[in-house]
């Protein structure tokens, strides 16, 4: 199992001139430490207008800064909103290639379609269309990365023949992922040979079923890229402390804050009835579960808050249902002081990580190597 960080970049009011800079600087300090400690990937979301919840509209810039201050940690652009009103596909191909070059081939490309009316409405995007445009984009991207000359006549966009440069540093191209929030999106990921970047958790039994379905379908997939990225990742919260009660207490404060913030936003489904958005989005199940009952300590099942022994126990459950990677949110509204966040990372690396082996080469790395070597 691999571990990563997952950034929404939550910024508390009041917003002074320095507030956002302080938060960004702290995030970079965390990433630098995580790189030294052996974390595998840092993911950053693309969100717009989500006041306090996420001030991260340009993750490629944040991730470039991450790449500049680290050596090994991979940078996950997760997720790029594949909706033309948000991002033109040519720009996606170009800027991901540049980020891959600048990071020395450390890019992971997450794709998705936004889940809030706050964002979709802000860009005047049609919620009925986003699944369709996402599908079109993810089929185009690998070709734009790998073909010297490219032209396209499609449904939501088109272009005459041009040479899209630069090309990604990784060959044949970076691994591709799909944000899995709505039920059934893991099937979309599997059918296209893409990694499942899970953003929900509806209990281990449900997770087990989803992973089994994903693994079964991906065996016969029609990959959008030149290799299959068979990987299952999920998002979690992290606060690790020697004292279990203290870890749970601080962790619950942070998870509760995150949940509270997310609930203030306007889900696409609430504002605009459509079959395109069967769930509420924005980590709804993770939120629900993190707020729900767990054991006597009050720590919800599956959430990585508490002492190292508890975290090992909970993360082993994730491993047992076939999850390859867990990406952690570290803070919300800065309710956990920076030094405590850094200490939590250090303790996790020292006491928890050794219980989880890194496989020598993942299926994705082997597949990528066979398709053209990263």
């Amino acid at each position: 199992m691999k571990f990563g960080l997952f950034y929404e970049i939550s910024v508390p009011r009041p917003w002074g001139r320095e507030t956002e800079k302080v938060v960004y600087d702290r995030c970079l300090e965390q990433v630098k430490l995580a790189d030294e400690l052996g974390f595998d990937t840092v993911w950053a979301v693309e969100h717009h207008f989500l006041e306090e919840y996420s001030h991260c509209p340009a993750p490629e810039l944040f991730l470039t800064a991450c790449a500049m201050v680290t050596k090994k940690i991979r940078v996950g652009h997760g997720i790029i909103v594949c909706v033309p009103e948000f991002n033109h596909p040519i720009k996606i191909a170009e800027r991901t290639a540049v980020l891959d070059i600048l990071s020395g081939g450390r890019l992971e490309v997450g794709t998705g379609r936004s889940a809030t009316w706050t964002e979709l409405g802000g860009f005047r995007a049609n919620p009925d269309e986003t699944k369709k445009t996402w599908d079109e984009f993810v089929h185009c991207l690998p070709k734009m990365w790998t073909q010297e000359r490219y032209s396209y006549q499609g449904r939501s966009w088109s272009m005459p023949q041009r040479t899209i440069v630069p090309k990604p540093y990784q060959k044949p191209h970076p691994p591709m992922w799909v944000a899995v929030t709505s039920p059934g999106t893991e099937v979309d990921a599997a059918e296209r040979g893409m990694g499942s970047l899970g953003l929900t958790f509806g209990g281990f039994a449900e997770q087990d079923e989803k992973v089994k379905r994903y693994r079964k379908i991906i065996k016969n997939c029609d990959p959008v890229g030149e290799f299959v990225n068979e990987s299952v990742s999920t998002v979690n919260f992290l606060y690790c402390h020697e004292d279990d009660a203290e870890g749970v207490k601080v962790g619950k404060r942070f998870t509760g804050t995150f949940n509270y913030l997310a609930a203030q936003l306007l889900a696409a489904r609430e504002a605009y009835p459509t079959k395109s958005y069967p769930s509420l989005g924005l980590l709804p199940s993770l939120r629900q579960d993190a707020a729900g009952p767990g054991d006597a300590s009050g720590a919800p099942e599956g959430i990585a808050i508490g002492n190292p022994a508890r975290l090992v126990r909970e993360l082993k459950k994730w491993e047992s249902v076939g999850v390859d990677r867990v990406n952690f949110l570290l803070n919300a509204l800065e309710v956990v002081p920076q030094e405590q966040v850094l200490n939590s990372l250090r303790l996790f690396a020292k006491e928890v990580m050794p219980h989880f082996e890194k496989k020598a080469a993942s299926k994705t790395e082997a597949a990528a190597a066979a398709a053209g070597a990263r």
Binding site: R13, E51, T274, K275
Partner: protein, 251 residues
């Protein structure tokens, strides 16, 4: 916790509040109800003055325009038209009812006494045409609300998500002001979606004054359903945040 809370002057608002006859209301099952609902984004900052401190504004703020026709009920047929401001009580989406108007005096009295709805007399109509559904409220012969769904397009009832409502009322027993949550249940037999258009909205009739500014239309939906107006399950202190001032009533 987000620092943005509603700033409604509850005592001033209470002048138009109904008096509820305690909180032990029996549910009403309403068959064949037709519901027109529009969602319209509104100017964010002034809208904070239209929700109580119990609530946070939704991001972005939006108004819900709802016109309902119940062909049969324990109080006979009735229609209601109302405007709500969407927000959150804690983490739960809720629409704060500004004012309601009802075309049946019997139903109006029952809705006020049983659930505390801020309901006043008015002429309410729902007109179904092939190209649109139009809801209209008139008071004293003057149109105070006229809104429509254009270009009717069938969708699944499962795609609809009506949020529960909250409103301010005065409890007859202790004369205290209280927020009552009403979370109806629906079994949909038909659902449609279309473009929303508001032809008339008299802010003063809904007590909104200059605080309500319609900005960006989101959606309109029309449904036919079996609707259950439930027993009251939650009440809130209008002066406190929901996390501190919510009371769950015995089933």
């Amino acid at each position: 916790m987000p620092p943005r809370f509603g700033t409604l002057d509850v005592n001033a608002w209470a002048r138009a509040a109904s008096t509820i006859n305690g909180f032990k209301t029996e549910e009403w099952k309403l068959k064949g109800v037709q519901i027109l609902e529009l969602h319209i984004e509104i100017d964010d900052d002034p809208a904070d003055a239209l929700i109580p401190r119990t609530m946070h504004p939704a991001i972005p703020a939006y108004a819900i325009i709802n016109v309902l026709h119940a062909p049969e009920s324990p109080a006979g047929p009735f229609s209601v038209g109302e405007v709500r401001i969407a927000g959150r009580t804690g983490v739960r989406p809720r629409g704060f009812v500004l004012r309601s108007f009802c075309d049946s005096e019997v139903a109006r009295k029952e809705l006020a006494a049983r659930w505390g709805f801020p309901v006043a007399p008015g002429a309410v109509s729902l007109s179904l045409r092939h190209d649109r559904v139009v809801g209209k409220v008139a008071v004293g012969g003057k149109t105070v609300l006229e809104a429509e769904l254009q270009d009717r397009d069938a969708i699944s009832g499962g795609d609809l998500q009506y949020i529960a409502s909250m409103h301010l009322t005065r409890n007859r027993d202790d004369q205290k002001l209280v927020l009552v949550q009403v979370d109806p249940e629906y079994v949909f037999s038909k659902a449609e979606r279309g473009k929303p258009r508001v032809m008339a909205l008299d802010n003063d009739a809904f007590g909104a004054g200059s605080h309500l500014r319609l900005m960006n239309p989101i959606s309109a939906c029309f449904a036919t359903a079996e609707m259950t107006l439930p027993k009251i399950r939650y009440i809130c202190n209008p002066e406190l945040p929901a996390m501190q001032g919510t009371t769950k009533l015995a089933a």
